[in-house]
Symmetry: C2
Subunit: 479 residues, 2 copies
């Protein structure tokens, strides 16, 4: 299929803008029904979608892609629940207070949809971070039409998914133009530049994300860009944890860093373990032959990353697996002085089945090593009861969006409390791309001053006809 032309991008964007006139007025129950209709339609076509995605991506159909599809439809349904619950509107009412400094008039604030949103699909999650993924679901949830730029790594899956979603939305009564798919690099740039587009959601590489971020910022009217980019996801294993269960941790780590051939944004890319750890000894037994990587560009990037890391003096390969359709998985190791001396080469994400073990000789050395880490989506601590990790956690929460105790960072639950974000280069914003709070990216506040009741949105009318939690004169009030 040929790339979408720039003219077609314009036509599609204008249709999205026209649809916005309807979606901005659609009530919460209506939009929730749209999302559930899309989820049901995707579930109904699950088998075909999974089969197609497996062929295009080389990811295993079961449990990986089938699970990802179920996650995708659960996500659409969660956002339906989020809009029905109503807190996402942040409805806030201040009654007049002439005694305040300065005096307070009748002021009422609510969040409104931004307008048409551009979504750039990811390579590594053909369902959950792609055409009907979290960005699309959270934007539609709050009333923003969506134009998705397909990832070229799974074009047929993208088209089939787009067709399923578009049909389901239409059947549920959503307006024409509320959802569309475009393809091609130049079409994507034209979309970011298009004046009706009010925000961009992106999941991908630091390099690609940075280019689009700069482009969104350089528009005559700059728009928010929500990039989920690169992450090292450091893991710290304490001496106590290694002594108690080093071999089990090795198995867990191997499963996590090789999951999906290491093509997860939450892959543990650097692991701090004591010198001479049981974890290191047990790791080689758990390397598995990966499927081919998702795209030739990712395969090239992996090879280059491995070469960059391996070329650092003081880095050694401690375990390697068999190459198959994909490259051989690899574990390299180094010490803290080398990590610090070569931070530039060693602390850049290598996307694929690789992790770097950093052997530390003392708690001081560990602290030293942690201090130089860049921002990331996650940081994980494995420790035993009684080991004091408070100072370590203090440092990790400064550089990560999610701090895990036990467990592994791959696998991102979709829930109210989830945060999938973090300091640069994990993301460039203070928002999450997974979980209930993701909707806030596509909303902006409007305050109404001394408005007649009949001109207020229902969320702000005194009798609370929407039945939602609100803040009234400073105090939260439940419906």
């Amino acid at each position: 299929m040929p790339d979408t032309t720039v003219d077609d991008v314009d036509r599609i964007a204008r249709a999205a803008q026209k649809a916005f006139a309807v979606t901005v007025r659609a009530d919460d129950a209506t939009r929730a029904a749209w999302l559930r209709s899309a989820a049901d339609a995707i579930d109904a076509d699950a088998e075909g979608l999974v089969e197609l995605a497996a062929r295009e991506t080389a990811l295993p159909a079961n449990p990986r892609l089938a699970g990802e599809l179920a996650r995708t439809t659960a996500q659409l349904r969660l956002f339906a629940t989020v809009v029905e619950e109503g807190s996402y509107l942040e409805a806030t009412i201040d009654h007049p207070d002439p005694s305040a400094t300065p005096p307070i008039p009748d002021l009422r604030r609510v969040l409104r949809p931004l307008g048409p949103v551009a979504v750039f699909a990811a390579s590594n999650f053909p369902f959950a971070f792609s055409v009907a993924g979290g960005d699309t679901a959270s934007a539609l949830a709050v009333g923003c039409p969506v134009v998705v730029k397909a990832h070229p790594g799974h074009p047929e899956t993208s088209r089939r998914m787009a067709s399923v979603v578009a049909r389901a939305l239409t059947e549920a009564g959503a307006p024409d133009g509320v959802f569309a798919l475009i393809e091609g690099f130049e079409a994507g740039l034209a979309l970011v530049d298009h004046p009706v587009i009010r925000a961009v959601g992106f999941t991908g590489s630091v390099r690609g994300g940075r280019a689009l971020l700069d482009r969104a910022a350089a528009r005559p009217e700059p728009i928010p860009f929500y990039g989920e980019l690169g992450s090292l996801n450091p893991v710290v294993v304490t001496p106590g944890a290694d002594a108690a269960r080093g071999a089990a941790l090795a198995e867990g780590l191997a499963g996590s860093f090789q999951l999906g051939a290491g093509q997860f944004c939450t892959k543990p890319g650097v692991v701090f373990a004591p010198v001479g750890s049981a974890l290191e000894a047990a790791l080689p037994a758990h390397l598995v032959t990966p499927p081919r990587l998702l795209t030739p560009a990712i395969a090239d990037g992996f090879a280059a990353g491995i070469e960059r890391v391996s070329a650092v003096p003081g880095v050694e390969v401690v375990a390697t697996g068999e190459a198959g359709d994909g490259p051989a998985p690899l574990v390299a190791a180094t010490d803290v002085p080398t990590l610090r001396a070569h931070a530039h080469e060693l602390l850049e994400e290598v996307f694929g089945p690789f992790t770097l073990l950093v052997r530390y000789a003392s708690p001081e050395e560990l602290e030293h090593a942690i201090t130089g880490l860049p921002g990331g989506l996650t940081a994980t601590v494995h420790r035993e009861d009684g080991e004091d990790v408070a100072a370590l956690v203090t440092r990790l929460e400064e550089i990560a969006g999610r701090v895990l105790f036990a467990g592994w960072p791959t696998g991102v639950a979709v829930s109210w409390a989830q945060h999938h974000g973090g300091p640069w280069p994990a993301t460039n914003t203070q928002f999450t791309s997974v979980g209930a709070a993701a909707v806030r990216r596509f909303q902006r506040p409007v305050a109404y001053q001394d408005a007649p009741a009949d001109l207020l949105p229902p969320a702000l009318q005194d009798p609370n006809p929407r039945g939602i939690p609100r803040r009234v004169d400073g105090a939260l009030v439940l419906p």
Copy 2:
């Protein structure tokens, strides 16, 4: 006093970073006490501060500057209340749910301070949007150290205020480095570039804001830039309102557009009134001689703006006042076709005592005119009961952060529901710079997965020791 050197900026920024290690751990009550200490100290020095600011800015001491100072200390105290109330932490707890797709572990999310913040003070509010203004107060409230770049329009006021605030913070036990003032253009740039700075707050012109926004975005690690920039603040007067009270509206409008010599970001810069309005007839009687404008650059900008507007064929001067220390106030008028044909010249903010009257001949023409308006902080409608303005309001809420019914946009209440923001060029973000929600600009979420209770922040511990509103398993729970 000489400009702050780049070396001194570095020293000050590093001290702020060091202070952050303390402020990030300081509990809400402690930070609330810091804010109240600053407010009390400012109130205690009010007379001296107002006198100094009046001398430097030419703004009247009473009621203007005295009122602004009271607003500034009320604002500090509001943010103390906001952090004590605790909702600003957005504490969210999901207990494990193995039946979810994918399974949900124990996940708990809270907002944390970003780190040291740079604040660029405004020219036109030497107190409320300056050294101890809303940006400073909201950043300190959530635990972010602040480095303020003084506005050169009121340097002595800035220094005196900084010294009052710094002493009060120290006396209240805040750490060294938590607050500092720098001066000079190059020092400001060095501050935006400094690696420890995590966000920038700015109130000023579109041109200056855009330059700093681009600079913040171009850093190796881009940081959020919160710019409060330019705004036209359109006012619509319906035929009914003009017939009922055109003369009173003229008086109100004249008071609003000439308030502070028209140097308000919320000054009504364009007013839509029916052809032959009573408002237009009554306006000339209310022009007053303004004080000198705040800075030579603002005076030059005003002269250039007046010239740009006056040069458009089809624009006529309908009222002008006496020049004094400042320029003569001016009202120009035009029709809708001219406005649309010359939108570029006519729809750019003219900062100072000027407003543009646009005479409309029919509701259709009004709608036509409104459609071309840029984004702004406010939009105001004056109507009579029974006049249907629903479609008009729909359009205005798309382009404004605050929609007023009756009243005038100058005068921005500081409250829970306030929103001071809006589509570009009013701001470049979805946040407010005034009111309780302003703190969210300086926070980022962190989620804790399967964390031991003793390593969780108090806000997330099961017994709710902080006693704050939280979301537990999807439902809001009040303390």
